[in-house]
């Protein structure tokens, strides 16, 4: 290991040298060179890499390779940026120089001991889609001078807009990145770089591609606080870096990648949460089975109205008293605004309730082995704490339920109250993702949707009890059924999407025509369905059978690079960093050697180079390469746009002035 570490050190110092070189070359070419920032940038790098070095012992070789690949991609971006900046600076030198500064100054270094290592990388290219303001770029660029005077105001406005945009982008250029070590459920680990703006969903997508798992909705990122013995599921919309930033430097907390059926249990069986009759055990069996149609309407009712419905939940729980190891039984109620309890001698009407906690500032965790650690009455505990608290504290609230079912209901109920509709949106996105994967794995074998359920068991309106006036008899279900059927037929008509379109976002398992359309898929299609990798998921049918843990295909280490999402370097890439050997393009040899069906051919080159579907019209910047479509990407070269726009605006301004 020591030797390999030395190698790595060597590689990194090479890398550093390379970056330094690039920065300096920029400094040389841009004429007013007294740019104080490059040294600072270097300083930042060294800090970052030092931390990295510390934690490298824990990393495995393949992780390092992946890491290196990521870094190389960054370097190539940097280099490309430099080239462009040079071109621009030849037109307009000092502006370029002054605008270059924040790119270097923004890097922040963070280190996270053994499990998580932070690296700060100065970021040139946006990995994520451009900010919503981007459509501004669609505006026709102001024509070059001379310009009619009448348009001057308009042009000034356009220019002001552009500069604003530019400033926003400057802010975004300061992107923090973490290297996160994720524990797999086969006890292996994977390290991946997580962008400051990446959500748990993005990281999951990333992991799907790395692990070739079945992508079902149960997969989640899971954080474990070893010391506090609490753990929880990352919500898909949560910002991963933000959550991890709350951990202390020397933490033993872990991030796991595993399947948890609790994650979206409410959407699979809403009746267990919404229709559970408390205390009435006899209804339990009947409740558990519910046909898909009723589930559908129950979900729609609960999550698609003007406001969402939080499951009605109340009952006696044990509360750990602050700072003590004794537990007190109290009657708690869940409301959308928080958890309440019934004070002694009061009734459970709204006016008597006392607020126990509100959800704004706390996260919900499962407590592990609280029976042992805190002498809890049972092991079914949940914990509420401010995400920043990392040590034992009186501000952490422990609650204990009688059984696992109650525990799951409370945790899910609290998540619904806290996150609201976001949770449902997350689920739908996860379904899309899962549907996409399963479509790939059994193309042509799965029907798009089951046929509309037959209307047997329906009573028509003519059925009547004796002695009653016939006209007054109405069949509710008939009406409902009709509406439902209508919804489902429209669903059935949807064409089955062909395999040439990996980005088709709708999962066939989601017959829901009356719902609002799913939130727009945030990333370009080439990200979520890297066609070369997805079809390898096996054991999938229309549903989502969770494969047993051990059947998870152990990621065949495709030497020398595990990083599938790294795109083949563009042809002119190889000669760019001269003293550095870039990883070879990901070869499919490893995959072809496996017993799995041969993967479809890699996406055709033009597809890969295609700009994101948003169709951002690019300013006529100097010819540039559009490599690196791998995830996370999609934004393409937004930075370039802003630079050139800014330049244009400034030039024009000068033209007007003179």
């Amino acid at each position: 290991m020591g030797e390999s570490n030395e190698d790595i050190d060597q590689m990194f110092s090479n890398l550093l040298g390379e970056m330094d070189l690039l920065t300096q070359s920029l400094g040389v070419d841009t004429l007013p060179p007294p740019d104080p920032k490059p040294p600072r940038a270097e300083f930042n790098y060294s800090v970052g890499f030092k931390d990295l070095n510390e934690s490298l012992n824990a990393l495995e070789d393949q992780d390092l390779d992946a890491l290196m690949a990521d870094l190389v991609a960054d370097i190539s971006e940097a280099e490309q940026r430099t080239i462009q900046a040079q071109k621009e600076s030849s037109q307009n030198q000092h502006h370029a120089a002054s605008l270059e500064v924040p790119d270097f100054s923004g890097a922040v270094a963070l280190g996270y001991g053994a499990n998580v290592t932070a690296v700060s990388v100065s970021q040139y290219e946006d990995d994520l889609p451009p900010p919503p303001a981007d459509p501004m770029l669609d505006l026709p660029l102001p024509p070059p001078p001379p310009e009619p005077l009448s348009q001057e105001e308009e042009a000034a406005q356009a220019k002001a807009d552009k500069i604003k945009l530019a400033l926003e982008k400057l802010k975004e250029a300061k992107v923090k990145k973490l290297v996160v070590k994720v524990h797999m459920n086969d006890n292996s680990t994977k390290s991946l770089m997580v962008d400051e703006r990446q959500l748990a969903r993005d990281v999951l997508d990333n992991l799907f591609e790395k692990t070739h798992c079945d992508c079902n909705v149960d997969w989640c990122l899971y954080e474990i606080y070893t010391e506090l013995q609490i753990e929880r599921i990352f919500e898909d919309h949560e910002n991963v870096v933000e959550v991890l930033s709350d951990w202390t430097r020397d933490t033993e907390n872990k991030v796991l990648f595993l399947e948890k059926e609790e994650k979206y249990a409410v959407f699979k069986n809403p009746q267990n949460f919404y229709l559970d009759n408390k205390g009435k055990k006899e209804g339990k069996e009947t409740n558990e089975k519910m046909n898909a149609k009723n589930k559908e309407s129950l979900l729609e009712e609960s999550f698609c109205g003007t406001s969402i419905i939080v499951p009605e939940l109340e009952g006696a729980l044990y509360l750990k008293e602050d700072g003590k190891k004794s537990w007190k039984r109290r009657y708690f109620l869940l409301r959308a605004s928080g958890i309440y309890y019934v004070p002694k001698g009061k009734t459970k009407t709204s006016r008597d309730l006392a607020c126990f906690i509100q959800f704004e500032n706390v996260n919900i965790y499962y407590g592990i082995q609280c029976k042992m650690k805190y002498k809890a009455p049972t092991d079914y505990c949940f914990v509420l704490k401010h995400p920043q608290i990392q040590k034992e504290s009186q501000y952490i609230k422990y609650l204990c339920c009688d059984d696992a079912r109650t525990l799951n209901q409370w945790v899910m109920g609290i998540r619904i109250a806290k996150y609201g509709k976001t949770l449902y949106d997350n689920y739908q996105r996860a379904m899309e993702r899962a549907g996409l994967a399963s479509r790939w794995s059994n193309l042509g074998t799965v029907n798009a949707a089951p046929p509309a359920p037959s209307s047997t068991g329906l009573k028509t309106g003519t059925t009547q009890a004796n002695g009653q006036i016939p006209q007054a008899a109405h069949s509710v279900s008939a009406v409902l059924e009709e509406a439902q059927r209508h919804a489902e037929t429209t669903q059935d008509k949807r064409p089955v999407l062909g395999n040439h379109h990996p980005g088709a976002p709708r999962a066939p398992q989601l017959p829901k025509s009356s719902l609002p359309p799913p939130p727009p898929v945030r990333r370009s299609s080439d990200v979520c369905g890297s066609p070369a990798t997805v079809p390898r998921a096996k054991g999938l049918s229309g549903g989502f059978p969770a494969p047993p843990d051990d059947s998870l295909p152990p990621p065949p280490p495709p030497p020398p690079l595990d990083d599938e999402d790294l795109p083949p370097p563009p042809p002119d890439f190889n000669d760019a960093p001269p003293d550095f050997v870039p990883p070879p393009p990901p070869s499919f040899a490893g995959a072809a050697g496996s017993p799995l069906p041969p993967p479809p051919p890699p996406p055709p080159a033009p597809e890969a180079a295609k700009p994101p579907p948003a169709g951002v019209k690019r300013a006529p910047v100097p010819p540039k390469r559009k490599e690196n479509p791998g995830p996370p990407s999609g934004g393409g070269s937004g930075e370039q746009d802003f630079m050139s726009d800014l330049m244009k605006a400034l030039q024009k301004k000068r033209g007007n002035m003179s």
Partner: protein, 663 residues
């Protein structure tokens, strides 16, 4: 030949005299007598009446009302025989549209003409069209409660009555917009004022009035309201409503379809008002914490609607404004020289530095507040022993991101404290800052609030936050600071706002105004950035999230049970509730319902659910027609689809809600 009699007195052509009173159902009214036969068509009779009256007038809205049968004779091609009409019929020839006074959800009164001849469902639809409220199927009319006359007659100030009787709505689809309001409102200043009344939230009510108004003290009281609903399938005339009567317009079915702030200003406002009164009069119970949020939203909504910022969000895009200034700065500098620190300047964040007194509560400490030099930069608060030591290391530095900020203010006592509960890996650390005056307090408080949300004082909302805090402090000064627990009269509302007007009376009893104000202020910080319609929508959503939301209560007696119980009807379920305790006994969902029947003779509703669960009950507090209509109405509303838009399947509604007399 007409008029020739036989010896027995019968007319030879079997014609007979028909007496028709002209006017509404006033027996003193003038009358005309016509000679008709059984074969005469109603249309012909109408024509004859108009000829007889010999008055030039637009009679097109007039029709004949048959008093004994309580029926309009609207089929002009029907003969008298077909109607079964004989000479003894008391007929009135009167207008079909008559003025009524409508008590709107915002409690304002409005006079307008409503159809007395169409089924109520249609009449409400046209009222809603006039008021530009979409989805009229969600609303209905109630009889006004009977007034108790005995109580003080001396002071009932004549309330302002808006008049829309003259407004004629052109047929057609959607009324066009003109000057930001439906065209028919823009005719005169009067109607324009009426539109503002409809589309803008009303100021908070006088707390004294609030205390006087009847509030339900039990579940039983809550059933009273629901006995007053009118029947949707019959017309107003048939239900004994007279011209000039007062009726309440309310959202009846708590299932609000496609609520859109852009197209629904009136609907949104009226719904907000109904929700607000529902909470203020304790029809729907909520907790203390929830009430504070509702109060804060009301305060915010009132502030926005007073300042006239209707509908539109404030400003264009927060965040761009301060950039503007910075950009101008940038341009100047870029043209001047290529200074490299331009952008550094741009990104600098305003900071606060001042002497403040700080107190850190710890166990076993008797130390009070001590003066420190405090620097607040970005989201960090650092304090030093003195200003001279500021360049060095602070005594402590706290990152306020994610912290809890609690105001501890007493204006009359000149106490301006900020309690901070700052999270750290070890737990929460508490620190109190004491400011000298309002101004200092407002700036630091605003900074702390933004920092707790992870924003800095460079955020564009900083200035408005400071203003909001100052405004609230002044409110406290005028509101409850002086006289303590005595709520003030309406005269005080001009300056500040009485917090008692924002909360249900039981909180008036529980808290002093000066206790209430900081709590409302605390809740306000989370909603301060909302626009008017967003805030209204948020209010409605929070209202909908209450567990007791949208349940209409009726006293019933279940078959086989000996005692009265409560049936709660919500938009998705029926709830059987114990009358005495208020506990939910059983819930049935509409989605499991197979059919329901009403036996009108024994006034019993029978419902069959899946798995052969049968339920039957007779209605005690309201007629079973009201229960039946509620169930049918909710079923109807659940069949609505987005694709169909506003088109109404009236037949289906009447089929689902109509009683046997409708067929």
């Amino acid at each position: 030949m007409a008029g020739m009699k036989t010896a027995t007195g019968d007319y030879i052509d079997s014609s007979w005299e028909l007496r028709v009173f002209v006017g509404e159902d006033d027996p003193e009214a003038e009358s005309v007598t016509l000679r008709v036969t059984g074969e005469s068509h109603i249309g012909g009779v109408l024509l004859k009446i108009v000829e007889e009256i010999k008055r030039k007038q637009d009679w097109s809205d007039h029709a004949i009302w048959w008093e004994q049968k309580r029926q309009w004779l609207l089929q002009t091609h029907w003969t008298l025989d077909k109607y079964g009409l004989l000479a003894d019929a008391r007929l009135f020839f009167g207008p079909q549209h008559r003025p009524i006074i409508l008590r709107l959800p915002n409690r304002r009164a409005l006079r307008l003409r409503a159809s007395f001849s169409q089924p109520l469902f249609q009449a409400v639809a046209s009222i809603c069209r006039l008021l530009s409220i979409r989805h009229p199927e969600e609303l209905s009319l109630l009889r006004a409660p009977e007034k108790k006359e005995k109580k003080k007659k001396e002071k009932e100030p004549e309330e302002e009555l808006f008049d829309l009787t003259k407004v004629v709505l052109a047929g057609g689809v959607a009324p066009a917009l003109f000057r930001g309001m439906p065209a028919h409102f823009s005719d005169s200043a009067q109607t324009e004022a009426c539109y503002h009344m409809l589309s803008r939230p009303q100021p908070p009510p006088d707390p004294l009035l609030l205390q006087r108004l009847p509030r339900p003290s039990s579940l039983l009281d809550k059933t009273q309201l629901h006995s007053r609903w009118l029947d949707s399938s019959r017309c107003l005339m048939q239900q004994g409503i007279k011209a000039g009567d007062m009726l309440w317009l309310r959202f009846k079915y708590y299932s609000f379809f496609d609520l859109d702030p852009k197209t629904d200003p009136v609907r949104l406002t009226q719904l907000y008002e109904q929700a607000r009164w529902d909470l203020l009069l304790e029809e729907t119970d909520c907790t203390e914490e929830e009430m504070m949020v509702f109060a804060a939203l009301q305060y915010h909504i009132n502030k926005l609607s007073q300042s006239g910022e209707a509908g539109e969000p404030t400003g264009t895009d927060p965040g761009l404004d301060d950039l503007d200034a910075a950009l101008n700065n940038l341009e100047v500098k870029l043209e001047g020289s290529a200074s490299t620190d331009v952008l550094d300047n741009l990104t600098t964040i305003p900071e606060l530095k001042d002497h403040l007194r700080i107190f850190r509560p710890r166990k076993l400490t008797l130390k009070g507040y001590r003066q420190h030099w405090v620097v607040f930069k970005e989201t960090n608060l650092s304090y030093y022993k003195s200003q001279d030591e500021a360049p060095g290391d602070p005594i402590q530095q706290l990152n306020l991101k994610g912290c809890e900020v609690v105001p501890d203010v007493n204006v009359s006592g000149q106490k301006f404290c900020i309690k901070l509960l700052v999270p750290s890996p070890e737990g929460m650390s508490e620190i109190h800052l004491r400011c000298q005056d309002e101004n200092q307090y407002a700036h630091w408080m605003a900074g702390c609030r933004l920092a707790s949300k992870g924003r800095t004082m460079a955020d564009s909302s900083y200035a408005s936050e400071v203003q909001a805090i100052l405004a609230f402090l002044s409110l406290q000064r005028t509101g409850g600071g002086g006289s303590g627990n005595h709520p003030q009269g309406p005269d005080a509302s001009a300056e500040g706002l009485n917090p008692y007007g924002l909360v249900a009376p039981r909180f008036q009893r529980k808290f002093k105004a000066k206790q209430l104000t900081p709590r409302i202020l605390e809740a306000h910080q989370n909603v301060a950035q909302l626009s008017l319609s967003e805030a209204q929508l948020r209010f409605i959503q929070a209202w909908q999230s209450l567990p007791d939301f949208g349940i209409s209560y009726v006293v019933v007696r279940f078959k086989g049970s000996r005692k009265d119980e409560i049936l709660g009807i919500a938009n998705n379920r029926l709830i059987r509730i114990d009358l005495a305790v208020g506990d939910v006994v059983k819930t049935w969902r509409f989605s499991n319902m197979r059919q329901w029947n009403v036996n009108w003779d024994i006034r019993q509703v029978a419902i069959e659910f899946d798995e052969h669960i049968n339920v039957a009950f007779s209605c005690v507090s309201a007629s079973c027609r009201i229960v039946h209509e509620y169930i049918g109405g909710y079923i109807f509303l659940s069949t609505r689809e987005r694709a169909r838009g506003e088109e109404l399947d009236e037949d289906l509604f009447l089929q689902l809600t109509g009683g046997h007399e409708a067929f």
